[in-house]
């Protein structure tokens, strides 16, 4: 690659531009060059630049010899945090009212019934029924 020519500067796109962005920029530059005079680059340079950018897209490691503008991706964008024009999503409001006493009691009842049934089912087979109750005190 030529020492001075920077394909991204020639096309006017930041380092990391996509193939589509590079091609559109190349087309735009070609039109500009037809109208501008005394430019440091020619249409041949634009063609070369597009080819170089596509080469970097295909083989990112080859970008080690290309001056990067910007050096830090995203630095040129406006800050991406939340703010007036990038508001956070507001969670949807609650649709239902508060828990009524009736509903609460119903839940309570189901819990009592459920646990009691579980106790009967799990522990019932283990209840002590032998010897029967009521032996006289002192009996073995």
């Amino acid at each position: 690659m030529d020492e001075r020519r920077n394909p991204y500067v020639i096309l006017g796109v930041p380092y990391g531009a996509t193939r589509g962005e590079a091609r559109r920029a190349a087309a735009r530059r070609s039109r500009e060059l037809r109208q501008r005079q005394d430019t440091p680059y020619s249409t041949e340079d634009v063609t070369w630049a597009l080819h170089q950018v596509e080469q970097v897209i295909d083989d990112p490691a080859s970008g080690v010899e290309v001056f990067r503008v910007p050096a830090a991706p995203g630095i040129l964008d406006a800050p991406s945090g939340h703010g007036l024009f990038n508001p956070r999503a507001v969670p949807m409001a609650r649709r239902s009212g508060p828990l009524t006493d009736e509903a609460f009691n119903g839940i309570r009842h189901r819990a009592v019934a459920s646990v009691s049934k579980s106790v009967l089912a799990a522990l019932g087979p283990h209840v002590s029924c032998w010897p029967p109750d009521q032996e006289e005190e002192g009996s073995t």
Binding site: E3, R4, N6, V9, Y15, T39, P60, S62, G63, V64, E65, F67, R68, V69, P70, A71, A72, P73, I75, L76, A78, P79, S80, G83, L84, A89, V90, P91, M92, R94, R95, L99, T100, I107, R108, A111, V112, S114, V115, S116, K117, S118, V119, L120, A122, L123, P125, H126, V127, S128, C129, W130, P131, P132, Q134, E135, E136, G138, S139, T140
Partner: protein, 896 residues
């Protein structure tokens, strides 16, 4: 079918009943209903019955079992099934029976089992008769014996005991149920009078598993239980059979009763302690145990509901738990952070609603429409500047806000101001401030909150003054402006770069530096300065700017950039940063590329790096990078590049065994060749020869061979003795390094000539193998291109002539010594009678000379045959003839 709550029997909740007839609450003993004893009593036990003892009979002692006693005597049963009565004082060797039984009768039964009678049946019948006598003394004895027999798993005895049928059935049913023989227990239970034995519900509970499996018995069981409908366990049992509901109190009482009846050591996996605490908390309306949630979904919901009302820990709930719960509980769970929707639950009912309330950003557009979630639809439309969608949304506070924000974003401040009422609090203030700034066309009216909100910068940036001094003054007076001013300057600098206005870009970037405070923005400004300076040809300034940016934290991009701009003016600086990149770059591809680029710069720079000496050394960072890279998953070309470099510049490290462990090229041809090169030159050539000889020899190997051969040929100078060069050439030849014929012939030719140039014929002579080498080389003449054949042939001729001359000269020098020897011997033997000459000694002394002459003749013959120059051939032939002559003379002398 009677339900549990439809029966009532006064006093049925009692646990007291008559054992004989089963009537509840029998009153005093005996039972008022049947007149029999209603409950077991402790019975007196004999100390003697069941004991072993002996008596003397007719001069012999007999041992037996005491089966009965009176006040003064005892009756013994002997193993032969006979009995004998003896006075109490005559009893000897009394062995007391083991205690533990309730009744003497069972003591007797147990003791009899330990006797070994002559006839077991007869003996048992005898014992049985006495047992029956004992148990028939009273109902208490009978009852005590029944309990003993069942404890000992001998239910057959009960058929012989005088107890009521119902008592027998009840006892046996309880016994079978305790032993897990539920079917047999049920059979006995169903024989019981229906309105008797209230505690049979415990026995039925024990058999519940069997009951559930056998629907045919359900009606009869209901009839058994219906009379005791006030007992909580009975109620629970009937509820289970009827599948109907009970009130809370009844459930809790039944659960409590069961919990009380389960022995502590029962092996159950059910969390009984927790259940007991739960039951207690529910009965007393006190605080629930924290881990109530472990008792199941319903308990979790209740604990959640309780947490909603009165605080306390809220358990984690799933959508499945909430399936039949009121929607308000789901909302409560969301607000308590107790409900999480996992990816697996995404398609469950209400999942989208929950996500809308907890994490709306994960919802898709269709989800939002389905939920009629206008606010989020509006927000997303706003973010993508979709005015059409915004306009189509129903009127509402949130959607109105976004419509006005969209107007504000596009500069329609009047529209925004008109919608201020839909905003509140800080947002309203910001909107008002921004609208006012736009209306006035001045940044002065923007509040600090607006200025430090980066999302407003694209809207506010056009309001900044263009004049740099005005801008500087403004930034100095309002620090909140620095961010937006720096950002605009940075954007402006890049815009000028894209316009190829290097000076303009430089100016804007410097302006950015005046106001920017954060390191990242300043680094980028310096980067843009470097780019502009570099385009202007001011490489030193570009390098300085990047060096400054690289202080502190930095990005991979900055390292790449300094590697680019410094390559020509300060290659060592470029290499230093590329070396860092070779270690630090986030991708392997970039690390490899950086290392390769750094190596290129290093190789190209004539000045040594990182050393005050005049010799080159591999820079430390680059060396370390290569050591890591050769063990990484790099491509083969890079691996070859790096190991080739290291075999020369980091040979100690590369040559050590195991250094390439972990590399996918460990054991590869390239690894073998370059590690050999690191260790020893001859080993390297041998390894390389092996690779080049392959049919599919890789290109790097043939390149390496060509470099070697080229270097050897370059070093070999036929006019100048160079032992190192000739040694080099000889190694290549002797190790069989495959090469093109022309190169081989050149190598052989020049090496041989070089060797001959080093030899002083007065002291040494070239080995005959050099003749062999030339002969071998000559065999490949036909492989040489036609236009080069003459040259190659000429070279070999020259080489052979040099070898020939050198050998001949050496031999000539040596032959003069041989001539001297001949003359000396001749003088000694001349005049001595032949028979007095010691032939053996003579032959022995002259043998080396003869051998030398023979060998010389042979070599000269060989040389003459290969030399083409006629003059030299003539000289050699003449010398050969002299040698022959001398040999003849020696032979004559030795034989005469």
């Amino acid at each position: 079918m009677l339900a549990a709550n439809q029966t009532h029997r006064p006093g049925a909740a009692t646990n007291k009943f008559c054992w004989s007839c089963g009537v509840p609450d029998p009153g005093s003993d005996p039972c008022s209903a049947c007149g029999l004893s209603s409950r077991p009593r402790r019975v007196s036990r004999s100390e003697l019955i069941g004991a072993t003892a002996s008596i003397r009979q007719r001069f012999r002692s007999r041992s037996g079992l005491v089966v009965a006693e009176t006040a003064t005597s005892a009756l013994l049963a002997f193993p032969d099934a006979s009995v004998s009565e003896a006075p109490g004082e005559k009893l000897g060797d009394i062995g007391r029976a083991k205690s533990g039984a309730r009744s003497s009768a069972w003591t007797l039964v147990s003791a009899s089992r330990r006797i070994k009678p002559n006839d077991r049946k007869k003996f048992d019948e005898l014992i049985t008769s006495f047992v029956l006598t004992l148990i028939n003394r009273s109902i208490h004895d009978a009852r005590a014996f029944a309990l003993d027999a069942l404890d000992a798993d001998c239910p057959a005895w009960l058929d012989r005991i005088k107890l009521t049928k119902s008592e027998r059935d009840f006892l046996v049913a309880s016994y079978y149920a305790a032993r897990g023989k539920n079917a047999m227990a049920l059979e006995r239970l169903l024989r019981l009078p229906r309105d008797r034995y209230p505690t049979k519900d415990l026995v039925f509970l024990r058999c519940m598993g069997t009951i559930k499996a056998d629907l045919t018995k359900h009606d009869e069981i209901r009839r058994q239980l219906q009379f005791f409908g006030d007992r909580p366990i009975t109620q629970a049992l009937l509820s289970t059979l009827n599948d109907d509901n009970l009130d809370d109190e009844t459930w809790l009482r039944s659960a409590g009763a069961v919990l009380d009846k389960v022995p502590e050591d029962a092996e159950v996996t059910f969390p009984r302690a927790l259940a007991a605490r739960f039951v207690n908390a529910m009965e007393t309306r006190s605080t629930l145990p924290d881990d109530t949630w472990k008792l199941g979904a319903e308990s979790r919901l209740y604990q959640l509901a309780q947490a909603t009302r009165s605080g306390g820990p809220a358990p984690q709930i799933t959508l499945a738990d909430l399936e039949d719960a009121p929607e308000c509980l789901m909302d409560d769970a969301i607000e308590l952070g107790a409900l999480i929707v996992s990816a697996a639950d995404r398609e469950k009912p209400h999942a989208k609603y929950v996500l809308a309330r907890t994490d709306p950003e994960v919802l898709g557009h269709d989800d939002l429409v389905e939920l009629n979630y206008q606010a989020e639809l509006a927000r997303r439309a706003f973010l993508r500047s979709d005015r059409e969608t915004l306009a189509s949304l129903a009127k509402g506070q949130i959607s109105d806000q976004f419509k006005f924000l969209e107007a504000l974003r596009t500069g329609d401040f009047e529209g925004a101001v008109g919608g201020l009422a839909s905003f509140e609090g800080l947002t309203r203030d910001k909107v008002a401030s921004l609208a006012q700034s736009l209306a006035k066309g001045s940044i002065d009216h923007a509040s600090n909150e607006v200025l430090t909100d980066g999302t407003t910068w694209p809207v506010l940036a056009p309001l900044l003054p263009e004049d740099p001094s005005a801008l500087n003054n403004l930034s100095a007076s309002r620090p909140a402006l620095r961010g937006i001013v720096a950002w605009r300057a940075l954007s402006g600098s890049v815009a000028r770069l894209w316009d190829w206005d290097w000076e303009g870009a430089l100016s804007e970037a410097k302006r950015c530096l005046l106001v920017a405070r954060d390191e990242h923005t300043r680094d980028e400004a310096l980067n843009l300065i470097a780019c502009a300076e570099w385009e202007l040809g001011d490489d030193a300034d570009a390098i300085a700017a990047l060096s400054s940016a690289l202080e502190g934290s930095y990005t991979e991009g900055l390292q790449v950039n300094i590697g680019v701009v410094a390559a020509s003016l300060e290659p060592q600086l470029a290499g230093e940063h590329l070396g860092k990149l070779a270690v630090e770059a986030p991708t392997l591809g970039m690390r490899v590329a950086a290392a390769r680029r750094a190596l290129e710069l290093w190789y190209a720079d004539p000045d040594p790096w990182e050393t005050q000496e005049s010799e080159h050394v591999l820079p430390t960072q680059l060396r370390n990078a290569l050591r890591t890279l050769v063990r990484s998953d790099i491509d083969e070309a890079s691996f070859v590049r790096f190991t080739r470099t290291m075999s020369r510049w980091d040979e100690d490290w590369l040559g050590r065994p195991g250094q390439l462990s972990g590399s996918r090229f460990e054991g590869s041809l390239a690894a073998a060749v370059y590690q050999a090169k690191a260790r020893d030159f001859q080993e390297f050539v041998k390894a390389l020869a092996g690779v080049v000889a392959r049919e599919d020899a890789p290109e790097w190997a043939t390149d390496e061979r060509d470099n070697l051969v080229g270097s050897a040929l370059e070093a070999l100078n036929p006019e100048e003795a160079n032992p190192m060069a000739t040694s080099f050439g000889l190694v290549l030849i002797d190790r069989g390094l495959p090469m093109e014929a022309e190169a081989y012939i050149d190598l052989v030719g020049f090496t041989v000539v070089g060797i001959c140039a080093e030899i002083d014929p007065s002291e040494a002579e070239p080995k005959e193998r050099f003749l062999d080498l030339v002969a071998q080389a000559r065999q490949r003449i036909d492989e040489v291109k036609a236009q080069e054949r003459e040259r190659s042939s000429g070279l070999l001729d020259f080489a052979i002539m040099r070898v020939a001359r050198t050998i001949a000269l050496a031999r000539m020098n040596q032959s003069s010594e041989v001539i001297d020897l001949y003359n000396d011997v001749l003088i000694r033997v001349r005049g001595v009678p032949s028979h007095q000459v010691n032939r053996s000694a003579l032959r022995s002394a002259t043998q080396p000379a003869v051998d030398f002459l023979s060998d010389t003749e042979r070599i000269l013959e060989r040389i003459i045959a290969n030399v083409s120059d006629p003059d030299l051939t003539g000289q050699l032939s003449e010398f050969r003839n002299e040698i022959r002559q001398l040999l003849t003379e020696f032979n004559r002398l030795r034989s005469s």
